[in-house]
Symmetry: none
Subunit: 400 residues, 2 copies
């Protein structure tokens, strides 16, 4: 695969606008009548775009591999997810819109319950309410550790994020969750010498947390995992010299986009709000990542009809986007979430590219089946961004 350094060397300025519209988990599988969600949806606007555009299929990571949301999106942003990895702690932190610095070490936390002997009785402390979680996070943030600023934030129920901010905190720590009840939380161990200070700090935090939570019930202890630093990723905005904005209702996707240099734009709550936000900010950015969440949510719920409805809602809103006349529009997905499978899956995702410089396939519809015949071919998701930038005339010739 072409390297990001090569792409940066080829990048050239242009006045073109590029829109990446991600319908999360839109790729599907056929239900009993043989139709996938895209087959079943009434999508006159997507159909017209398919006829004028170029289609393809993309494997987000590698054939057969099911992506998480992080790697799924990194691929769409042009990064090989096998090469650029994001730790679980960082993913949780960006997922609740926390701003990380290079001095931070992030960890994903669970409040848990332990008995008087210190053995775990419930790894999730009965899934305490989120507001209890928030109160306990405020308590934990009071912990004093030498040279460290602590930021502790609730996620949902028993889940929280802790950022250890300070010098010399390196990755390479073992997790404290023994993954079963009846055992004590494990000490944090440094898996490499350079992580020794971080291990000391993390163990200090756990020890103080045990003391502070002693009289709480049921959440009287913490488990930490996914210790990770903010990844050193060349920014998409630097590679291509674009100003990029993300429009996403869920913080996780804004956080992922910020990782690669995009600015979070106000999005509202509905598909219509998101398309309105695109209009509002259209003049001010070169590249837009617009994220539609509910195709995935309904896919995970196994709600085929509701997923179809969201696809139709996006189709209905499309003329607003098309009215802006972007130079390049790609509609695709970070992974498949077939409603009959009720989970992320490994199936390749459908891709539709529309541009005045695309070579039209003349396909009747935007479906997984039609995408098999597309001129983009069957690629990796990470190869798609250069294709977008090529059509946007933002890449100069390779060699003479």
């Amino acid at each position: 695969m072409i390297t990001l350094a090569d792409l940066k060397a080829l990048a050239r300025p242009a006045g073109t606008k590029v829109v990446l519209l991600v319908m999360d988990g839109v790729g599907g599988l056929p239900r009993a009548d043989g139709k996938t969600e895209l087959d079943a949806a009434r999508t006159p606007n997507l159909d017209r775009l398919a006829a004028q555009g170029t289609l393809g299929l993309a494997d987000p990571i590698a054939p057969g591999i099911t992506p998480g949301s992080g790697p799924g999106h990194l691929g769409l942003f042009g990064y090989d997810p096998l090469q650029y990895r994001i730790g679980r702690g960082v993913l949780e932190a960006v997922g609740i819109d926390m701003h990380m610095t290079e001095r931070d070490l992030a960890a994903r936390g669970n409040f848990c319950a332990v008995d008087q002997a210190g053995l775990i009785t419930d790894r999730r402390a009965g899934r305490i309410p989120t507001d209890t979680c928030a109160r306990l996070c405020t308590l934990l943030e009071k912990i004093k550790l030498p040279g460290i600023e602590l930021i502790v934030r609730p996620v949902r129920e028993h889940r929280f994020v802790v950022l250890f901010r300070g010098d010399g905190l390196e990755e390479g720590l073992s997790e404290t969750d023994p993954q079963e009840v009846g055992k004590p939380p494990l000490p944090v161990e440094a898996e490499a010498p350079h992580a020794a200070r971080a291990a000391l700090i993390a163990n200090g935090f756990v020890s103080e947390a045990r003391r502070l939570l002693a009289n709480e019930h049921p959440a009287n202890m913490v488990l930490l995992r996914g210790f990770s630093k903010y990844p050193k990723i060349p920014k998409l905005t630097d590679i291509y010299g674009v100003k990029a904005g993300v429009i996403a209702v869920y913080p996780m996707y804004r956080g992922l986009a910020r990782l690669v240099g995009m600015e979070a734009l106000s999005a509202g709550d509905s598909v219509a709000d998101e398309f309105a936000a695109l209009e509002t900010h259209y003049r001010d950015y070169d590249f837009f990542f617009l994220h539609i969440k509910k195709t995935d949510s309904y896919g995970e719920d196994g709600n085929f009809d509701a997923k179809v409805h969201v696809i139709e809602e996006v189709d209905h809103a499309l003329p607003r986007l098309l009215g802006l006349n972007p130079d390049v529009l790609v509609i695709t997905s970070d992974h498949s979430t077939p409603a009959i499978y009720k989970a992320h899956s490994w199936h390749p995702v459908p891709v539709l590219l529309s541009s005045k410089w695309c070579r039209p396939d003349g396909a009747p519809r935007f479906t997984e089946r039609e995408c098999r015949f597309g001129g983009i071919g069957h690629i990796r998701s990470a190869e798609l961004l250069p294709v977008m930038m090529g059509h946007a005339e933002r890449l100069t010739k390779f060699g003479a």
Copy 2:
């Protein structure tokens, strides 16, 4: 991708003949009536070949990347252009049929104009006539540098090539063109210690050139860039054990083919001449690269109809080639040059392979659209040569 070393290990002798017919830039885009150049051309012979052959699409470098002629052809010769790179100086030298040795360091030169303070007033010296350029090159060739033989040749207008022939001349030099007027030419700097001697020699040349050109007008100075050695590429002829010949009207393509071990055969000036040359030399070589330039030239001119006409001219000449009954014939392109885009583009190129051992697609025509469904699939150009050699029974089994 399979390595050249692996391919060399698999290569075996055979009495088969292979013809690679490159219609430069033949891949296109549809004009208003929805037809690409290949769609619009009347091509009864190509149509018949398409029905009996196997089709495919190929990305010359990577999806979305527009190739220059050098990398585009290296791909077709079986080299990953991202791995095997050719410097600008070398490309210019082979482009005017200069023969380079391993002791040569090539640079692309521009005659420019400087004022009395030595500041550049015109980076192209008013695009002096080519015969003036030739006279000045003869002048520069008289420069004496210790241990160095100088070869200086005009290209066109203000452009020339200089070969520094001598020992210890290594790559890694900065260019002297500041890329704007009002500044002085930059000194050549060694970007690595091993290039120190080359920098000394190059600066000596520039200094002497300044002196010799002082009374010329307007071309009274030179700018040098693209310092590069003849690349150490395993020769196609060695890898596969074939005797290979190139038939090309333009010197650039002969030069590129010589880089990989092919011999330049007399070609004449027209498509008919080139096909005649193939007949003449057919007994004496195993592998032929036959290059048709004008599909690209008319593409760059934006002359859709003339490009269509060249395709028809090639189709008309095809029976002559087919009469030789080559064991493998591939017809493809080094890149697309859509007439409506008027430039090289990033779109994948159509591929047609004909052989008694091919698995026929039964396609009605040789067009970009039909090639999407081809049995070759959607590959990288560099993967095509092994496919050709496989069909030519020139590769033995991999493993037992």
